[in-house]
């Protein structure tokens, strides 16, 4: 039987694999009605990770209300919230500048960006290196290299940094944690 409990568990396991293997791609099989403007895989990630202890930020009021209603998470306008859910087309420098990177004592108190891009598997080519990657992983996605440069700047001083969960409109997912070195290919 597939209930929300099992679907969030499966989605979490996909995220565990993706976090531990940056640049790998998974297709989310999460099946639920979606009244947000984001794709099913973005919504699945929200449903899996958000609850009433979480604060998040997203641009559209409709999405904010949908996520809050479904999970009890607290919507805020502050961009240093625990999660920022955003479409690649709506990324701004402010989002990267204001995202929390944690402190040296508590680097886990950082922002996770959930970015929805038009497509993973085509577009700009990136080479990824770091923990979780045997030699080098290549990843193609339709996100501007400028944004990835801002992300890399944010992650210069490990353990400080931001983690990216990237979803696309075909329900594919990948993760770029702060440990990963990203180069434009």
């Amino acid at each position: 039987m597939q209930t929300m409990v099992h679907m969030t568990q499966q989605h979490y396991r996909e995220l565990v694999d993706l976090y531990s293997r940056p640049g790998e791609i998974r297709i989310s099989g999460f099946d639920t009605s979606n009244y947000s403007t984001f794709s099913d895989s973005t919504l699945a990630t929200v449903l899996t990770l958000f609850d009433n202890e979480v604060s998040f930020s997203t641009s559209l009021k409709q999405d904010a209300e949908e996520f809050s209603t479904l999970t009890g998470a607290h919507c805020t306008e502050n961009l240093d919230a625990e999660f920022v859910v955003v479409k690649a087309g709506e990324l701004t420098e402010k989002i990267f500048h204001e995202a929390a990177v944690g402190t040296l004592g508590s680097p886990e108190q950082s922002t996770t960006l959930i970015i929805e891009v038009p497509s993973i598997g085509e577009g700009q080519k990136y080479a990824l290196r770091g923990p979780g990657i045997k030699d080098i992983n290549t990843l193609e996605m339709t996100i501007d290299a400028g944004w990835m440069a801002l992300r890399s700047e944010k992650c210069l001083e490990f353990p400080l940094g931001i983690d990216l969960i990237i979803a696309d409109q075909d329900n594919q997912l990948c993760v770029i944690p702060r440990t990963t070195k990203v180069e434009v290919k």
Partner: protein, 280 residues
């Protein structure tokens, strides 16, 4: 009485899951989490158990070991709790399991990609023997100030002319964090370096989660003139199976008083003994 799937309520699981993902993103760093009450006492594997329960799902196969054994009381009870609340099948074969919860050993069979090893950790703080205050050790980690950990090893060399730490030997993860790898024998330390699977460490009483993603550099602390050495079992032979070069238990035959050795990883020993042609 019906329990929630995997015992923990969904909010508890979500919290553990968020913290676990952070731990994977910051290898070797101890992420604090709100350790939940479980039907076993803290300090008896609750950290590992909470990780396993937050991970387990319908397509998993679990293996639970305690000091290398699938059949000790602790391993059996933890496995029963996992199975009663999730219904997942169990196995003793390391390569057939998707989730392995272990106390004090990393199995002899190397982890495969996408396998997850969950280690139960009694004391996750490698600096605790030199600094009792959590507030201070947190600062020391922030400053990458690990003189205490080095000094501890140095003092052992001064006193005994060798490093005497035989379990929970501290490691340096990706050149940044010094981590306590739970009381696995030194013998198992090299298995963590650049391994194929994901290793998660959960400390229930101390409320910390730590992670080692695959292909992560994990170096045991050592000095140039006193390099890291593992226990050698090359010159001893397992009395049951004839295996050598694996981690052994030293036992005493009660009848003859004679010392003998036996492979510590019981499922590995059983697999070796069941292999065709192994009976001489």
């Amino acid at each position: 009485m019906r329990q929630n799937y995997a015992f923990l309520d969904e909010n508890s699981k979500k919290e553990i899951r968020r913290k676990t993902l952070k731990a994977i993103a910051i290898p070797g760093y101890q992420v604090p989490f709100a350790s939940r009450e479980l039907p076993i006492a803290r300090g008896w594997g609750t950290g590992g158990l909470q990780l396993t329960l937050s991970l387990a799902g319908q397509s998993d196969t679990v293996k639970v070991i305690d000091q290398g054994s699938d059949e000790s009381v602790n391993a059996v009870n933890i496995r029963k709790l996992i199975q009663d609340t999730t219904g997942v099948p169990d196995t003793i074969h390391t390569d057939a399991a998707t989730l392995i919860q272990s106390r004090h050993r990393i199995p002899e069979v190397p982890l495969k990609p996408y396998q997850i090893l969950v280690l139960q950790v009694p004391m996750p703080e490698p600096l605790r023997p030199v600094e009792p205050q959590e507030r201070v050790t947190k600062m020391l980690h922030a400053d990458k100030e690990y003189s205490g950990a080095w000094l501890r090893l140095f003092e052992q060399i001064m006193n005994y002319d060798s490093i005497t730490e035989d379990a929970d030997y501290p490691v340096l993860v990706e050149g940044r964090y010094v981590m306590a790898p739970s009381p696995i024998p030194r013998f198992d330390n090299p298995k963590m370096d650049n391994n194929d699977g994901l290793i998660l460490l959960g400390a229930g009483r101390e409320k910390k989660i730590c992670a080692l993603p695959p292909y992560t550099k994990v170096k045991s602390l050592a000095f140039e003139d006193y390099p890291f050495e593992v226990e050698s079992f090359d010159d001893v032979i397992c009395r049951q199976s004839g295996l050598t070069g694996v981690y052994m238990d030293e036992l005493i035959d009660e009848e003859t008083g004679e010392t003998y050795y036996q492979t510590n990883d019981t499922s590995y020993m059983q697999e070796a003994m069941n292999r065709e042609g192994s009976v001489k």
